[in-house]
């Protein structure tokens, strides 16, 4: 794309950020009548981990030039997520708009995304670490597999290299690891990697005029298959909060407590 006011250097990265709209964190959720999903009459917001992915993409663009494109799948309400991203500085948006996208499993969402961006040539695809509703943490990895690209998950830092990128992965127990890979690639971004910006008033005003491409169900349904898994039942987990009193000599109590910490609380 020609960007007359853009940086002189060649666009380094064209980044796609996958975003999702999820129920607001403090919204009281209720089950639907069939107990298969929540009632949809709640307030929604951007999946927070995706906000970090967007922020990282914007920072990369500010550093190296390029383009940030945001994509989401969902009904009309999901457009709010894209508008917000555009207000924060994304250049354009792609909205796979249909109620049916809500019920897709992660693999099918990834397939729909892959089909929708066939014409685009991205260098990087970012997703948030996971979604606050399903919490599957799969869309990014699946998209990499579908695109035939390398990937890395739970990323804390991204450096540009001549040969591609060098990223810092978070491992468990306080460990980290640097990994190098060629582009194009998919990264899932760890929350807290950066500090989120606010949408500025100017950004909000300008967002209206940025391109938003709508993709219909029919445009991508050919790429989507049967869901391979199904939520049979959603329910409120039973609370079993009963205070259990431990008795005995201090040494006995200490033993019992450690046993519980290991086997019930499972922190040892």
């Amino acid at each position: 794309m020609l960007r007359p006011n853009g940086p002189v250097a060649r666009c380094w990265v064209k980044i796609l950020v996958c975003m999702k709209q999820v129920p607001q964190k403090d919204a009281p959720l209720k089950l639907n009548e069939g107990g298969t999903w929540i009632r949809e009459d709640v307030s929604y917001e951007v999946n927070e981990p995706d906000a970090y992915a967007l922020e990282e993409a914007l920072r990369q663009k500010e550093k190296h030039g390029g383009e940030v494109v945001v994509i989401t799948a969902g009904p009309a309400r999901a457009q709010q997520v894209l508008r917000e991203a555009l207000a924060k500085g994304a250049d354009r948006a792609i909205h796979l708009e249909d109620d049916r996208f809500v019920g897709l499993d992660a693999f099918n969402v990834a397939r729909a995304f892959a089909a929708a961006i066939k014409e685009d040539a991205f260098d990087l695809i970012f997703t948030g670490l996971q979604s606050d509703d399903y919490g599957y943490a799969q869309t990014g990895v699946l998209l990499a597999e579908l695109m035939g690209w390398p990937h890395a998950t739970i990323i804390m830092q991204i450096e540009k290299k001549d040969s591609g990128i060098r990223v810092k992965r978070e491992l468990e127990a306080g460990f980290f690891q640097f990994v190098e890979m060629p582009l194009p690639a998919v990264l899932t971004i760890q929350s807290g990697i950066n500090k989120l910006r606010y949408a500025t008033l100017i950004g909000i005003k300008q967002a209206k005029n940025k391109p938003m491409r709508k993709v219909s169900w029919d445009d991508v349904s050919g790429a989507v298959g049967e869901n391979l898994q199904k939520v049979e039942k959603l329910y409120v987990p039973q609370k079993t909060k009963k205070t259990e009193y431990l008795e005995g000599s201090p040494a006995e109590v200490a033993k019992k407590l450690v046993d519980k910490l290991r086997n019930e609380v499972r922190v040892l």
């Binding site: 307030s43 917000e84 949408a199 500025t200 008033l201 100017i202 909000i204 209206k208």
Partner: protein, 596 residues
């Protein structure tokens, strides 16, 4: 379609003489996606930046306040009322109010913010010369400079024109030499530029732009205040203070035009800020009520606590309805103005002045609503509400100033009645014909009311009665006192209360009607419950005030006649306010906050 507002220019005060068409009432449901995004930015800023710094702000660490104002400026949130050519974002008054509401959730910072973006900035926007705008507005818009507004003095507050500060032209004609003292100046401790009022030659009331580093300019000691302790309030001392002649703001002797116009804006924004504070207190109340246990239950299970929570939500509902209806009218009027025209700022001022009575209503109503809410928040917290460690105590102290500044609520009540009378006399507002029509109607005896089987018919009838009672009483009082009415302050105040409640009720009903049309019975049921709960208390005030004035202005047969009219107008089935409040409390407690 019922869900869209039409943008007819509506005359200020017309809610009192004609039935409201709900489709012409702007409501929060009319916010655009842009408005909602701006609200979100402002709210996130409050939660992530202001709230964590609340303690530092409270300890008068003004560098924190300045830093936050600068950050807000970078986001464009401080310059909504500033034209784009001076670095502003130049947006509508709805946006301006949305920002005020969402930023102003805790007292101290709200006051610093409000003084800077409102009364400190607008005088230059509206009355500044091109040079003054270039020089000052750009820096104010960018947050580099913080502004303040200096009108009051130790011996002149509400009667600001009575000021003693003096300005005399220097012998070389290059400076005004200012002498005197200004008092209660918000942001004085750290502001860079002040709008200072003084009388040229001790006679002609005028305004000046005064920089902090002007020779002869000094800021006195910080006041020790009951609340909003994190804001700066100090006197200015002008001791042969040299102000360049080009810093005269507006015309010599026309300072009062600046002072009065600015206050209209200050008042509706104060209303918006009170809504923000109310949201915060309600949130705390809900949280506490759910956490606190007594008699083996959470206190949120108790009816008397639930009732308070419901009343708070009703306060927010009515308050936001009032604020946005009013600014919506302003925006509709402002949208007709060609901003590039040479007299554009004058037209803008006039358009806002048109709603002076609504601005005063908002100021009085919202400040008293918030005072009620913070008071009940303390009550819900019990002893914990009385100690500094919990948020209830600070909010309780912080709220109190709202009834005092931007014109005391007493002054504003006099403005409400006085303004309406003046408009009636000049014929600008067809108040007298309305009163006459009403008298004819009541004198012709009881008539069968028109059949109205639309939803909210009973509620509309109550509003109609309130409107009639207000007109009746205003008519009776002016007949009795004629020109001397302005000196009969108790009567003026009582009439103002009736007018205030009429506007509030009318607005609640109109919004509920809009919601019914857009969302159906289920979707509007909460709004309807809040409207009914509000009407029940509000109509009682109208009745009480009507009787109060009647007893003063009439006696004997006349009084009996008026009482029979009052009885006729107040004959309505009592609203089941307990049921309405129970419904509201259940919803609000479930959501953890006010949400419609």
């Amino acid at each position: 379609m019922a869900s869209t507002t039409s943008k007819r220019k509506i005359a200020g005060g017309s809610f009192l003489i004609e039935e409201t068409n709900p489709r012409e009432v702007f409501t929060p449901e009319d916010f655009t996606e842009e408005h909602l995004q701006i609200a979100k930015t402002a709210e996130e800023f409050y939660v992530n930046e202001i709230l964590p710094n609340a303690d530092k702000i409270e300890q008068k660490d003004f560098s924190v306040t300045r830093g936050l104002l600068k950050k807000l400026a970078e986001l464009g949130l401080t310059s909504v009322d500033v034209p784009e050519q001076y670095g502003g974002t130049d947006m509508d008054k709805v946006t301006s109010s949305i920002i005020a509401e969402n930023i102003s959730r805790s007292g101290s910072f709200s006051v610093s913010f409000g003084a800077h973006v409102g009364i400190g900035t607008l005088p230059i926007v509206w009355f500044g010369t091109e040079e003054q705008k270039q020089k000052y507005l750009t820096k104010i818009a960018s947050g580099e400079w913080i502004s303040a507004y200096a009108l009051s003095e130790s011996s002149s507050g509400s009667d600001a024109l009575n000021c003693r500060a003096k300005a005399v032209l220097s012998p070389d004609g290059k400076h005004y030499i200012l002498n005197g003292e200004k008092m209660w100046i918000t942001n004085a401790g750290f502001a860079d530029v002040f709008i200072v009022f003084a009388k040229v030659d001790g006679e002609k009331f005028s305004a000046f732009i005064v920089e902090r580093n002007s020779p002869g300019f000094a800021v006195g000691a910080e006041e020790h205040k009951l609340g909003i302790r994190g804001s700066s309030t100090a006197p200015l001392i002008l001791n042969d203070c040299k102000v360049p002649v080009e810093n005269l703001l507006g015309d010599i002797g026309k300072g009062h035009i600046i002072a009065f116009n600015i206050l209209n804006v200050g008042r509706f924004k104060l209303g918006a800020a009170c809504i923000g504070g109310a949201h915060e207190s309600l949130k705390h109340s809900i949280q506490w009520a759910k956490d606190r246990k007594a008699f083996g239950k959470t206190i949120a299970d108790f009816g008397l606590i639930r009732e308070k929570i419901a009343q708070m939500a009703v306060g927010i509902y009515a308050g936001e309805s009032l604020v946005y209806r009013t600014v919506g009218m302003m925006d509709a009027a402002l949208s007709e103005i060609d901003k590039s025209a040479p007299d554009a700022t004058r037209e803008i001022r006039k358009a806002i002045e048109e709603y002076a009575v609504e601005c005063s209503i908002i100021k009085v109503w919202a400040s008293e609503m918030l005072d009620g809410i913070v008071d009940e928040t303390v009550q819900i917290y019990g002893s914990y509400g009385y100690v500094e460690e919990y948020p209830a105590e600070r909010a309780y102290r912080d709220s109190r100033i709202n009834r005092i500044f931007e014109g005391t609520n007493e002054i504003n009540r006099l403005i409400i009645t006085g303004w309406l009378m003046k408009r009636a006399m000049s014929g600008q507002l067809a108040l007298l014909p309305a009163i006459k029509r009403l008298m004819d109607e009541v004198m012709s005896g009881p008539s069968m009311p028109e059949e109205d089987d639309r939803p909210l018919a009973a509620e509309r009838a109550i509003v109609a009665s309130a409107r009639k009672l207000s007109l009746l009483i205003a008519g009776a009082a002016s007949q009795k006192y004629m020109q001397a009415l302005v000196d009969k302050q108790e009567v003026m105040g009582a009439i103002a209360d009736m007018v205030i409640e009429t506007y509030a009720m009318d607005t609640c009903v109109a919004r509920a009607e809009r919601l019914l049309a857009a969302k159906g019975e289920a979707g509007a049921s909460l709004a309807v419950a809040m409207t009914r709960a509000y009407l029940s208390g509000s109509m009682a005030i109208v009745e009480r005030m009507a009787k109060k004035v009647m007893a003063d202005v009439a006696e004997g047969d006349m009084l009996r006649t008026q009482m029979s009219i009052l009885r006729r107008l107040t004959k309505y089935e009592p609203i089941n306010v307990i049921a309405a409040q129970e419904q509201i409390a259940a919803k609000v407690l479930e959501q953890g906050k006010y949400i419609l």
